[in-house]
Amino acid sequence: MINMAFCWLILLGRAVQKLVFGELRVSEQQQLRDKFWNFVFYKFIFVFGIINVQYIDEVLLWCSWFALLGFLHLLSQLSKDRFEYLSFSPRTPFWSHVKLMALLAAIFALSGFMLLVSVFVGFFGGFNTFAFMSAEVVLLAIRTLHIIIRYALHLYDIRQESATAMNTSDEGKAWEKRGPISYYTELSFELTALIIDLIHHLHMLLWSNIFLSMASLVICMQLRYLFHEIQRKNYLWVRNHLEQNYPMATTEELQNNSDNCAICWEKMDSARKLPCTHLFHNTCLLSWLEQDTSCPTCRMALNIQTPSPTQMEPPELQADPQENTRRPFNHFFHFDGSRYVSWLPSFSVEVSHIQAIRQNHVTASNSQLDAMARQVQTLFPHIPLSVIIDDLRVTRSVELTIENVLDGRLVAPPIFRDLDINQQTSRPLTLLQSNAEPSTTRNWDEFSTDNVETEDTVMLGSRFSKSSSEREKILHRRKENMIQMARRRYIEKQKAAAAAAARSDLQS
């Protein structure tokens, strides 16, 4: 009978998998296996180590209870993974959302039903049994609800985005509303789940009465981990500090500030102002300050002191493979004002360095270089365009290049002679232009095709298509172009070098 039930459960699992998820991804399978063994391990400890059941019926009852519970747990975990995966990709068929949502709702309903069962059993079996059973069920329900709400927010998000794709002004408003909601649901759900888990584990520890057994050791480890998790979740404190010390920006300040929020790159309709006068969305700032207590833009340290001792070493994640996937927050609140003073000058150096590079790029992008080069070439048609471009890259000015030409610093490369080229450089040439006879006229033809391609690249670069497949295609072509151009430039340089070497050979 029991075997039959398990078989049905497995079959049901298969059916659900086929229906909702289709083929499982490798990482999902891995995750699922980990979770499964972890669950079996913990429940084994629970049944034999803590409850210490004597009768085979009782073992069977507990086993079937946990089998069902574990099954639902795994399903909700799987949907969470799948949801995260789906949310990574901007285009997902509408149906997969519906299916996943339906499954999540079913899990939630079932967990409600199981809660009723546990109340019923608890009525006869006493408070402890009830507490053990319901804690797990409530956890399951909370996690599922959490996923559902996150999912709903995400879907709302996507719809907003497609609806406001035309007029970007509304987008900021949608985000403003959404930001705090997702932030607080995240916070409250995680916190509740952790607290219930903590109480559940504490309860197990006290109940088992065997403080020095393996089971209690495992549970202690889990407890320690949970405690750390809760400690790290004291967002609330950061928020209070923020609200007390840093005012919201006035509408006037917002109007003067035309920049977007530096964290999410979106428009700011309301913002919080840090003492260094940098503005950010309230929620964007909050989530950053959980990791690091300095201004994201200028790195000015904010004087947030730790409310509780959090300088403890980070929790050993190995202690619990179940939670290995969670990204560790590093040094929450770890902060020391003095160490920020010394770096300030060095930082400004780095920033200006990067900006200098950018300015160069801006002032002399490909198209401009091209235009400048043509200007020079109208004066000196005997000099190949590529030579002019090379020189312009250095001088960045038409006048200077013209001077270079007049002074004889810039000369047309001598006629390319096959005989004088050594093996090494001639091979790549034959590779690329298999039937090209190396002569000057040939080379010039090639230069002119070069130009066309440059223009093509520029054209490709100046548009951002709305369709994702077209974007992919354009990106691909840009990449290929870039490699082709680089290859051509490299070969030209080799040719020039070889020719120069040949010339000096002749002279000597």
Partner: protein, 167 residues
């Protein structure tokens, strides 16, 4: 959360497409997954990596831009600040909390105001001027200091290989 990360990545992609910095192209490998990008970086002029086009992969975390992406060259590289498996070791890619080397000031670390473009520009300047302090590839660092000629030869070979030109 993934939603805001996605929006920000889309904005960055758009910006990099409309105003690409010279010699740099970056975008998602496949738009099914916006959290994995490929970037092509042209070796800076006047350095031993001049002319090469180096492909690299960028993997973004779900909470980007709060956490930095990971960057790994997918071609062979030989450079003091690049591990032999291609992973790039520069301070801008380190989260403010972690400090594997113990010498970086948090000023140069990751912050949400950094961007893909800034990372790639830092990598370009790293290619031009290796940072002696971080020894991601000790052999390369040693050769860079002591035997520049051989280093340049190896770099030249790598450049040729990235261009598909036989060495």
């Amino acid at each position: 959360m993934a939603g805001s990360a996605l929006r920000r990545l889309m904005a960055e992609y758009k910006q990099l497409t409309l105003n690409p910095p010279e010699g740099i192209i970056a975008g998602p490998i496949n738009e099914e997954n916006f959290f994995e990008w490929e970037a092509l970086i042209t070796g800076p002029e006047g350095t031993c990596f001049e002319g090469g086009v180096f492909p690299a992969k960028l993997i973004f975390p779900p909470d980007y831009p709060l956490s930095p992406p990971k960057m790994q060259f997918t071609c062979e590289m030989f450079h003091p600040n690049i591990y032999s498996d291609g992973r790039v070791c520069i301070s801008i890619l380190h989260a403010p909390g972690d400090d594997p080397m113990g010498y970086e000031s948090s000023a140069e670390r990751w912050s949400p105001v950094q961007s893909v473009e800034k990372i790639l520009l830092s990598v370009v300047s790293m290619l031009a001027e290796p940072n002696d302090e971080s020894g991601a590839n000790v052999d390369a660092a040693k050769m860079w200091r002591e035997n520049r000629e051989e280093f340049n030869n190896i770099a030249e070979k790598i450049v040729r290989r990235t261009l598909g030109i036989p060495t």
